[in-house]
Each structure stands twice: as structure tokens, then as C-alpha cells.
């Protein structure tokens, strides 16, 4: 079976139908998605600025990570679940949508960036915990994350317009 048919099957499924037919489900899922975004992005941006050595320089990196990242993951989980449900009800149309595809790629790249960062330079954080000039690899991870999230947000906003206009 082709991936497009899978996507169309998802869209036609009972959950997909239920979200489309309900007057409130779609806007409420959207609202929840944006609340998740605010918590996730609001914490990510200051984490990235710390990695870049530009913000919260008086706070130890490991302490900030321990305190902030659970909130990031909480917000992100809310985004992921609501995002999947939002995509569920128009999966067939989104499948061929260029902006949606871009967004998925950006999301995977952002995940890869987090994975590489945590498996490499963050392992030795004790050596640069209080540094205001952070290691180059930490700065690269912070900058990549900021750029990728800007792209994710721009793509997210653009999907709504692209579906309205049928791009």
C-alpha cells in the first residue's frame, strides 16, 4: 500500500471524521497545540541562549538543564499529541503539502540536533558548567536549535494559509 493511501485512510478513519465533524475539536486542539508551543519554545529559547553564552550566564548549565528541560518536554509532549490529532483529520491533504513535509523534516532535524548534543558535548558539561564562553559544539547546537524552531513555527503558521488557499 502506498503512503498516500495510508494518509487518506487515516483522514477517513473514525477519529479523523470525529475531529472534522465536531465544531469545537479542531480549534481547541489548535489552542492546546499553541499552549504547548509557548511552554516548549519559551523554555527552549532561553536554554539555547544559555548554550550560546548569551543569556542566564550566572546560572550553571547543568542546573538550568535539570530545572528547565522537564518543562520543555512537557510542553513538547502536549504539542506532539495535539499536533498528531490535528494532522490526523487532514492527513490525506497534508501528505502532498510541501510546507507540511518541510515541517516534518525540520522536526526530525531538531530531534537529531538534541540527540547529538546530549550524546556528545553535554556529557562533559561539568567541565564548562559555569562557562560564559561555552564550547563551540554547544554554541552550534544552540544556534541550530534556534534556527530550526524558527523554521518550525514559520512552517506551522504557513500550513494553515496553504490549506486555505489550496497551495
Amino acid at each position: 500500500m502506498q503512503l498516500l493511501q495510508v494518509a487518506q485512510g487515516i483522514e477517513a478513519s473514525r477519529i479523523g471524521m470525529a475531529i472534522r465533524e465536531s465544531m469545537w475539536a479542531f480549534p481547541i486542539l489548535n489552542l492546546v497545540h499553541l499552549v504547548g508551543l509557548m511552554v516548549a519554545a519559551g523554555t527552549i529559547v532561553y536554554w539555547d541562549l544559555r548554550l550560546l553564552g548569551l543569556g542566564l550566564r550566572r546560572t550553571a548549565v547543568s542546573e538550568l538543564g535539570r530545572q528547565l528541560l522537564p518543562w520543555t518536554w512537557g510542553g513538547f509532549s502536549v504539542m506532539l499529541v495535539s499536533g498528531l490529532l490535528l494532522a490526523w483529520c487532514e492527513a490525506g491533504r497534508l501528505y502532498s503539502n510541501f510546507i507540511f513535509r518541510t515541517k516534518v523534516v525540520l522536526l526530525l532535524l531538531a530531534g537529531l540536533n538534541v540527540l547529538v548534543f546530549h550524546m556528545t558535548v553535554y556529557r562533559g558539561v561539568t567541565a564548562w558548567d559555569r562557562a560564559t564562553v561555552t564550547p563551540l559544539r554547544a554554541r552550534i547546537a544552540g544556534a541550530m536549535s534556534l534556527v530550526l524552531w524558527l523554521g518550525l513555527i514559520a512552517a506551522g503558521r504557513a500550513i494553515g494559509y496553504s490549506l486555505d488557499y489550496g497551495v
Partner: protein
């Protein structure tokens, strides 16, 4: 058309006509508005959770507040710049939206609360006062964002 003469006046401004002249300026302004919001809300969230005693308890609240506010200001400036442009470009809709009025009132309250209470409390060491201040501030800003998002969604 809106019943409000002010809304019509905004709608017909050259800048509004220019923004509506192409498909991309309005979404681009929205994205910049969201970027500014993330800087502001990130600061609000972290400072208020610190005041609530939930986050970063080992760091003094004044220090967290000072280090974050430095980044919140450019974010807020970006919002003050893009917000009115978004408003005039789509003023017929905004003038008729109860959510938009809600948002303006809540925004004024949240900003006033920040300058009168939050700033002073962040510098003090009274944990009891800090707790309710953080709670009220977070609730106000959450309400600003929820009403703002609702203009578009409902």
C-alpha cells in the same frame, strides 16, 4: 465592513492596503509577532515559576529576573511593532472581535501588574508574597495569549 469608523479608518490607511497587497506580509508579521511573544512568555514563565517556588530555587529571583528581562525587552518591542501593523491591516475583523478587546484589557493589566508588583516582589525575599505574585502574573499572561489566539480560532 465594520460599524466602527476607527476600524474603517485603519483599514484604509496606506500601510494597511500595502500589507494586504500581497499574500506574504501578514503571515510574516504574524511569525515575527510570535517570535517576540516567545521571548516575552519564556521570561514570564520562568520568572513566575521561580516566584511560585517551582523552578530554579537555588538562584535568587532578582538574578533570574534581571538575566531574562534583558531578552524579553527586544521581544516585547518586536510585538509592539508588529501588533499594531497586524491590527490596522485586518482592523475590520479585530474591531468586531470580543476576544481582541479582552486581550487589550488583559494586556494592560498584565503589564501594569508587572511594573507595580512583579518587579518589586522579585527583588524581595518574602516567599509568601512571591508565590501569589507569580501565580497572578502567570494567569494574566496566559489569559492574554489565550484571548489573542482565540481571535483567530473561534
Amino acid at each position: 465592513m465594520t460599524d466602527s469608523p476607527f476600524g474603517e479608518w485603519c483599514w484604509n490607511l496606506p500601510v494597511s492596503v500595502a500589507i494586504r497587497g500581497a499574500a506574504w506580509p501578514f503571515p510574516a508579521l504574524e511569525i515575527l509577532h510570535i517570535v517576540g511573544l516567545i521571548l516575552v512568555f519564556g521570561t514570564v514563565l520562568i520568572v513566575d515559576l521561580r516566584l511560585l517556588g517551582v523552578l530554579l530555587r537555588r538562584e535568587p529571583a532578582w538574578q533570574i529576573s534581571a538575566d531574562l528581562t534583558r531578552w524579553a525587552w527586544p521581544g516585547f518591542a518586536l510585538q509592539l511593532l508588529t501588533g499594531p501593523l497586524l491590527f490596522v491591516a485586518n482592523s475590520r475583523k479585530f474591531c468586531d472581535s470580543p476576544f481582541f478587546r479582552c486581550k487589550l484589557v488583559l494586556l494592560v493589566l498584565a503589564v501594569a501588574f508587572h511594573f507595580t508588583v512583579v518587579r518589586r516582589v522579585s527583588a524581595s525575599i518574602d516567599a509568601g508574597v512571591a508565590r501569589w505574585t507569580g501565580g497572578v502574573s502567570l494567569a494574566l499572561w496566559a489569559a492574554v495569549i489565550l484571548s489573542g489566539v482565540s481571535i483567530e480560532l473561534f
